[in-house]
Symmetry: C2
Subunit: 276 residues, 2 copies
């Protein structure tokens, strides 16, 4: 009997071929397609994976900024990563994703080694019933990438574009990969981008919108993620402000046992020709 090893679609989508000196190539995956090009979260995860795959990297991801400069076409792309500076405890990387030598995405990453210190978390996880008590929301036929996530909304914050305008953009959901996959830094990077643009929630209708710049701060090391396995994270989002074609939204990812794993900050663009 021959067994075929299962490779999770997330690992296929973020797989990279190493060419040395910080150069990698990859292929977009139809599983994580968005309306135009790939889901921004999978791009962030793939850029992070490139640094993780570079033998020069030290420590673990601390902070990642990804700037979505232009569309990524279906097919092959290149990622170039370079350590700009290596210190005793931290290492700074620059990351560039390109296709045919045209830059589509820029980024920087900070890696570092954690050590025991005083600790405290001043923010609190939102109240939520257990994930098992909530039915998953599906977005069949909308955009492909949502099919790779199990999303269970604690509130009415799903994407119902017929629900009318809402007075708040705050929303919370239990979120996990589908099929289940153990949490790691690349999967958390992708999950940081899993909420729909808040402008659509506020206006209650489809608006062309997307991420321009996404900063993800990782607060948990691999040793803290490992025991969580593939259990869902509690993801919560709120927007600070909207105006003049731009908005900012901020996401927290919590473990199901109450630890803050990730905070992320997204600067979005939106087009709105009809509401003035």
């Amino acid at each position: 009997m021959r067994q075929t090893a299962f490779q999770h679609p997330f690992d296929t989508a973020t797989a990279l071929l190493a060419h040395g000196d910080g150069r990698f190539t990859g292929q977009t995956s139809s599983d994580y397609a968005n309306m135009v090009g790939p889901f921004g979260g999978i791009t962030a995860a793939t850029m992070l994976r490139a640094v993780l795959a570079d033998p020069r990297h030290l420590g673990e991801p601390i902070s990642l900024t990804v700037n979505y400069a232009g569309p990524i076409a279906d097919g092959e792309f290149s990622i170039d990563v370079q350590p700009a500076r290596t210190n005793r405890r931290t290492q700074h990387w620059t990351i560039t994703l390109s296709q045919n030598d045209v830059v589509t995405t820029t980024g920087t990453a900070v890696f570092g080694t954690r050590q025991p210190t005083w600790s405290d978390t001043e923010v609190s996880a939102p109240a939520a019933p257990p994930a098992e008590s909530i039915s998953p929301t599906t977005f069949d036929g909308f955009v492909a990438w949502t099919g790779n996530y199990d999303m269970r909304f604690v509130d009415e914050g799903g994407l119902d574009l017929n629900a009318g305008a809402k007075s708040t953009s705050t929303s919370t959901m239990w979120l996990s990969d589908k099929p289940a996959r153990p949490l790691d830094h690349p999967s958390l990077a992708a999950m940081s981008d899993a909420f729909f643009p808040r402008v659509m929630i506020r206006l209650g209708r489809f608006i062309p919108a997307g991420t321009i710049s996404l900063t993800i701060n990782f607060h948990a090391p691999t040793a803290q993620l490992a025991p969580l396995g593939d259990r869902p994270v509690l993801a919560t989002i709120h927007a600070h402000t909207f105006g003049a074609g731009f908005s900012e939204q901020n996401t927290q990812l919590w473990s199901d046992d109450g630890a803050l794993l990730v905070t992320s900050h997204q600067l979005m663009y939106f087009k709105d020709d009809t509401t003035l």
Copy 2:
């Protein structure tokens, strides 16, 4: 009679000499010295100013990420800025600050053109009495850069390292350049970094700490800043989490007439050998 034009210390500290093709040189300023090297805010402002000084830039600052990779020595530094991609509405820049070809600071900036759209701000400015009703706090002899700011704390959140541990890192102050200077994007970038590391406030004592990565989102165009003149901004900060030698703190800058001008997100390091 001859009049000598006054140049504000902020403009002296961020002054750059253009060498073409995105290369600039500048000089550190003792006015904005921190304990080691320059105040991080002045470095962010200088990097932003380099893009503003490049004739290729389009639109206005939307988002700036600065990664503090290594110390900047007193003296000359070089800044290299390059437009990674120019779109119809947005332009993405990479920024590198170096000394003797050693990278000390990396960054990315998004510039863009704003246009009228639906707008709303979901967060609220903290309550504060008028700036004029509060006495400025001075930090004589601590670090030079604080001498260039007028800081009027709404709460007890000043830096009193003998005050003992506090249960919250939240603090609010009226903040302006000293001497007064009209607000612009570089000055707001610097002000985003004007709060002391929250770990010191929480522990109530001096801790080696500093910014590793700072993302600043600008929500107001120049046309909105101009009428504010040199009036103080209401700056408020809170920390999300501390642990394993890293922490995240988040700042909002509000105009005195209640508009959200800037949100920023800082990933900090700290060393803490004594509290375990």
